[in-house]
Amino acid sequence: MIRVAGLLLGVALGALMLLFGLALMLRLLLPDWYAVPGALMQMTGQRVPAVSPPPAPVVQLEYDESSFGTPDPPTPGVRNMPADSASPTPTVEPANAETPVAEVESGDAAGTLLPNRRFNVLLLGSDNDLKFSPNAVLTQAMILVSIDPANADVAMISIPRDFWVPIAGYGNQKIDVAYEVGGIALARSTVERLFGVKIDYYAWVGLNGLVQVIDTLGGVDVTVQHPILDETYPDDLNSTDPYAFFRLYIPAGPQHLDGTTALEYVRSRHGDLQSDFGRSARQQQVLVAIKNRVQTLSVVGHVPRLVAALQGSVKTDLTLADILQLAALAHKVPAGSIHQQVLAAPDFASLGYSPDGTQQVVFPNWAAIRPVVTRMLRPASAAAGPMSGT
């Protein structure tokens, strides 16, 4: 009896070991065999090319030696000369009200941790200096970012902070109040209800958070469209006087901005001839600059350091793995696939006062907004022609 049991035990042990041996052979002969299921291996960034693509080339000047002296360089617009026929003319296609918003399956997304379809991230930014209670801050920036990973297509819609909208339980208010009184849950549900989209993720960033993000990336390169002149820019960053101010001047033209200057660029409002709408456009511009910067860096090398530096300055339900994948996705999104829209007056809103006359507010023109949101958030393959820009 004992002999039979010993024989069986030996057979079982031998079979088990042979299975491991077979596993070794498969591993050696078919190295991708382990990597198929996706999630775990993709997070390593080592064995699945789709998630850790080779770094994109550093942005280079598009010099084409052969173009010098050739007859077809772009013709500048010069007064008294024929207009540049090659210049893009923004066209707005007719809205298709039946196109579902943000619920379109966009096909294979190479098995990411993020949704395998277009998904939406609500970006929020707040002045969280000493003037405010840490847990009750308004949102000075509110940007709906919609990402279609399969088609490497990104849409950004800036929602004016002064939008006068119904907020559940609080009546009509400026939309920036939602986060102050109800946190991310209320801000999220308010945007979902008003815009008819599902918010899959959110990220909130405070003043120091943005500075740290950009400094960790080594700054961003931005072309300042016009000088930023602000006579009363708040001097409240790491300050003991929350009401201090200083004069701000950022000259126009291309330049490299460190975190502090980039914050000043996206936060200044008093000197902008377009006020909060101009500021919203600058915020989107810096987001694109951050994306461009990420594109030139080693994602795996910087994101963990970045996340470690951001404790307390950023709140999000994106995990580190999600952020790594977003950063990897940034490599794939060409500049032409980033569609930007600021819901500015007069096209998408009108300026006015709250019914009690105490607040300057912005009244949204939903009839104009909804078709644009629908169009921007449809799959890239379904969109014909360029999106309208800001």
């Binding site: 997070m43 550093v58 942005v59 280079q60 072309t223 200083f246 963990p304 995990t319």
Partner: protein, 393 residues
Amino acid sequence: MRQRLIPAAYALFVVGGLLSGTLGVHHMATFADDAQVSRLPKNSSTTDHATPAPVVQSLPARLLVEVSNRAPQPTATPVAENLKGSERWSLLYVLGGDLWQTTPEGPLQLTHDGHIGQPALGEGALAFVERSRNASDIWLASADGPPWPITRNSVPTISQNHWATQPAFLPGRQRLYGLGDFNKSTTGVGDLAVWELGLDLTPPVQITRPPAYAGGDQDVTIDPVDPRQIVFTRYAYAGSQLIEQLQWLDVSTDRLVPLTPPDQSSRQATYSPDGTSLAFVQRTDGAQENLYVAHLQLADIGPHLEDPQHVATGVIANPVWCPDASSLIYIAMAGDRFEVWSVDVQRDADGAETFGGPRQMTNGPGVDASSRPVCTTPELADQVRQWLTPAPP
């Protein structure tokens, strides 16, 4: 025979299985170690929380690879060798708020201030901008003595401070044009305009008058042949649309003529040394800019640009000419940083220009793209170095 084969096969099976299994277990263990570091928890919670930092700290050092496409570190490469006739020209540029000079031996730091920008060279003098937190002033350096300010923020009240920037010399070195908001306290207009400044702290004289509360002026360049004529950029909003146009102005008559159409963002024009051409930057497509050179015609239908030649494409800023117009210098991206670039310019007997390929002239940690570089002779650059000693405060 059969009784011997069965135990032998059994022994071979067990021993072989153990051997291959051991190897397999060892390999799987090694692989598991590799994967372990990245087994990050997927947090599906939607609650308001900070991103978990400890996960980051658990990443092994080998994953913290450095920048893969990082720009080369600053080198002592004699970058001026790229410039045609390197013994003929020297470049002055701003890096980290200080003035630098290219030399055949490598870049040379001329100041150690950290707040300097916008250098401009005149006859026997260098103007530059000294910036503080709430204000900026234009300073002059020459052989006459230590650098001195020609504008002065003397009012301690922050709201009374001014910006003075982008100096450009009129012929001679007694007066120059620059941007400022000197009448801000009386008009309430904070946007910059072009002002004429003397070297003797006399009150500045306003030259351009941008539309109040709708825009401002910048990038002034002076016709070297007829200094009554200037070109500058005027930016203004028409509704929600930003309009950036090159404007030609006869200061003596106040005749103002736009040189570029409103639907093409144009800026940073600079006169060629003979005053016949303008180099300027125009944005025609998204984030890309193009550098053009066009002839400035004043006759017939009035001031207008003709025969635009495309020179370069990219993120381009602040073109300037070398004194004999043989090279056009500008700032553009080199990898992930701004550097100074140059193209050779050849002009035929009819005045038609052809341009060579772009060549990178600096190779450091990145220049300040918002400051115009200066192309000058090595002798004059050496004089500038003398003028700046001792360095300004």
